[in-house]
Amino acid sequence: QQQVKQSPQSLIVQKGGISIINCAYENTAFDYFPWYQQFPGKGPALLIAIRPDVSEKKEGRFTISFNKSAKQFSLHIMDSQPGDSATYFCAGGGNQFYFGTGTSLTVIP
């Protein structure tokens, strides 16, 4: 059973638009929910993260919205840029982390 479910699998957005990626988790013991960004040939790198006692966290153009009762969280990328084109992974965990299947984002100039 997949611990973290992610959608959509791929996303195409115009430059300046909003990119939205959604995730859902099963385990209520998870206490840390990070988002990772991965470029081809590289390892994932932390983008932004949230703990379940907070409903929203914003860092620049990136915002996590967290709904504890629904066990869902999402990443919003405002004013999307071509340089944001990458694969994005959500994750949840504590001692160990479980990742979603990834979203390939393409931002068209």
Binding site: Q9, P34, Y36, G43, L46, Q96, T101
Partner: protein
């Protein structure tokens, strides 16, 4: 400061051969992890360690063994490689629970092909 270093970066094996992937971190992190990444499957946890001398199974541990004899190193072994183990392997480390952040720091990956 190198962060997380994985060796080798590429390897081709024949079915039944054995090999070891080495992960080294210089951040004095307590926790270390091995993941595999396959198309459409995301990152799946193979094994992890919460400290020197400890290891634990993740989501997909079968066919792999690990050892954490030194805090800075985490080894992933394949005793008898199978084509299903063709993948990109990522090592990661973190401060762990109680640390300043829960962030995982990843290496650049090791691409393994089993023929």
């Amino acid at each position: 400061n190198a962060g997380v270093t994985q060796t080798p970066k590429f390897r081709v094996l024949k079915t039944g051969q054995s090999m070891t992937l080495l992960c080294a971190q210089d951040m004095n992190h307590e926790y270390m992890y091995w993941y595999r990444q396959d198309p459409g499957m995301g990152l799946r946890l193979i094994h992890y360690s919460v400290g020197e001398g400890t290891t634990a199974k993740g989501e997909v541990p079968d066919g792999y063994n690990v050892s954490r004899l030194k805090k800075q190193n985490f080894l992933l072994g394949l005793e008898s490689a199978a084509p299903s183990q063709t993948s990109v392997y990522f090592c990661a480390s973190s401060y762990g629970r109680g640390g300043p952040t829960g962030e995982l720091f990843f290496g650049e990956g090791s691409r393994l092909t089993v023929l």
